[in-house]
Amino acid sequence: MDNYAEYTDEDLVPLLKEGHQGAFSCIYERYWHALYQTAYRRLANREQCSDVVQDVFIDLWEHRGNKSIQRLEPYLHTAVRYKIYTLLAKGKALPAFVEPFEQMLVSPFTADGPFGEQETRRLLTAWLETLPRKRRRIFEMHYFEGRNTKEIAEELQVSQKTVQNQLNTASNSLRALLIKTVIMGLVFLN
């Protein structure tokens, strides 16, 4: 096994494609820990992260003939990304993944938020881009202009209840509703 350790990724990829188990083991040695930590940053769950890493390597072996495997490291990290998206798509509860976002919505530009100010702005903007136009405008006014529901309702000429509903429909989950209530509280205090 240690004979492969001298090989670069560029050497290992063609060997892997030919089905050399030693090359595969070397790739595992080289990357399992980094991939595990990449997953752990997002899931904070040893069991789930072990499964993610395991599945990524099983896929790597089974799809070793796949042409898209060129640069190994980015390929493996992308594989982890899609394993995590798959967990989300299956409806798995991934609190560690969701919480920073919720936290950000509650207190976007405070020092104890999970992301820095730049990052928060970037994330909020990216998220707002995914929303329907009217709802996006409500959130923009809410987050970036610091307006309360009453002001927003007046400017957009809709009822205050509509504004509240729009802010609420960002999520249906119980937990998020709770957070929304907190947001509303903040809005009303403004």
Binding site: P14, Y36, R42, R81, A89, A170
Partner: protein
């Protein structure tokens, strides 16, 4: 919010997500790399355990799907020399200086190893064993050659059988167990086993065919591990230079323990345990490449050239040095160990490897370089 991510992920995987949705999801995913303190803090022990656990899960899954492809390949009664080298990827090996003054030798002149070994006694005596004999038998009160010729009367308690480079020898222990000792190896054993257990020690490589005796387990100690058996056949490769000890089970059942981490595992036939430091990895292997030496062959099953060359060097008593950049090739094939060195090297040279043999004092040196 979970619902938001759930919906987004589903759309992305289905391919129906908008650019904005993909962008948000990816941006959010990437943002985790910048949050501090989210990695798991693992002790090196926890890390090893985790590494092994994940690896095992992978191996189990892969082996269920991939039956060993070479299992049925070539009954090695076909003594034809087939040596193919595949692949053309470059890897770097240390540059060593040439010794231009040393005379060049022809590979045809380098003859293979034979039945060579020494027997060391507790009193310090070292006996050169006959090259015309193939093995020795340890009996109650004497040691004979396989032919029946007496070698020694009243042997001491502990004995040591040592093969040099280019030597191989077979020994029948006092319980009837047969051991084949490969080149550059040592077997330490008592002239008589006690009633509780049978313990031997091996350094280098040996093949064991252990006689069944349920009341006295047979134990083989080697670098970093103990193998405990009842009655079985297996190969142990524990060359000090290789940093890992490989145990390949041919039949029966053995219990293998890593002495450093105290991890124990049972091996099933066709499985190989590789011990390195505190780790133990078990994988399904084709046993033939690991045991072919006992039957007089080199069998390389897609091994890196260094691995093959080290085996060859042990058999032809050569010191190896590597020169310059070498093509990273893989060696695949079978070679009769009774042929001169040229038979092996000719086939190697066909695909990117070049060899030169020089006499350096009393030693023969094999220089390996890229074939330009």
């Amino acid at each position: 919010m979970e619902n938001t991510f759930h919906k987004l992920a589903k759309k992305i995987l289905r391919g129906s997500a908008t650019d904005a949705e993909r962008h948000f999801m990816d941006t959010y995913y990437d943002a985790f790399d910048n949050i501090e303190g989210r990695e798991e803090v693992l002790t090196s022990e926890e890390q090893t355990t985790l590494r092994n656990r994940i690896d095992k899960g992978i191996q189990i899954h892969i082996q269920r799907k991939n039956t060993i492809r070479f299992r049925k390949w070539l009954p090695y009664a076909a003594a034809a020399i087939i040596l193919a080298v595949v692949g053309t990827w470059a890897f770097f090996l240390d540059n060593r200086e040439k010794l231009p003054t040393d005379p060049i030798l022809a590979a045809e002149e380098i003859l293979p190893g034979g039945h060579r070994a020494t027997l060391s006694l507790a009193d310090g005596r070292v006996i050169d064993l006959s090259e015309t004999q193939t093995g020795i038998v340890i009996a109650e009160d004497n040691i004979t050659y396989n032919s029946g010729d007496t070698l020694l009367l009243k042997p001491s308690e502990t004995l040591m059988l040592t093969t040099p480079k280019g030597g191989i020898y077979q020994i029948t222990l006092s319980d009837g167990t047969n051991v084949w000792l490969n080149a550059a190896s040592t077997l330490t054993y008592p002239s008589r086993f006690d009633d509780a257990e049978r313990v031997v020690r091996v350094s280098g490589e040996a093949y064991f065919a252990v006689v069944k005796d349920k009341s006295r387990p047979f134990k083989v100690n080697s670098s970093g591990q103990t193998v405990e058996v009842l009655g079985t056949e297996f190969n142990i490769s524990a060359y000090p230079a290789e940093n890992e000890t490989k145990t390949t089970l041919v039949e029966g059942k053995v219990k293998i323990s890593n002495l450093e981490s105290q991890i124990s595992n049972l091996l099933k036939p066709g499985e190989q345990a590789v011990i390195s430091g505190s780790t133990m990895n078990i994988a399904q292997v084709d046993v033939v490449p690991y045991t072919a030496w006992k039957d007089g062959f080199f069998y390389f099953d897609n091994v890196p050239p260094r691995v093959a060359i080290e085996q060859v060097a042990r058999w032809y008593d050569l010191e190896v040095s590597y020169e310059g950049n070498m093509p990273a090739t893989f060696v695949f094939g079978m070679v009769d160990r009774a042929k001169p060195l040229s038979a092996v090297l000719n086939s190697f040279a066909k695909s990117g490897l070049n060899f030169e043999i020089r006499q350096n004092g009393s030693k023969k040196q094999l220089l390996v370089s890229e074939n330009k």
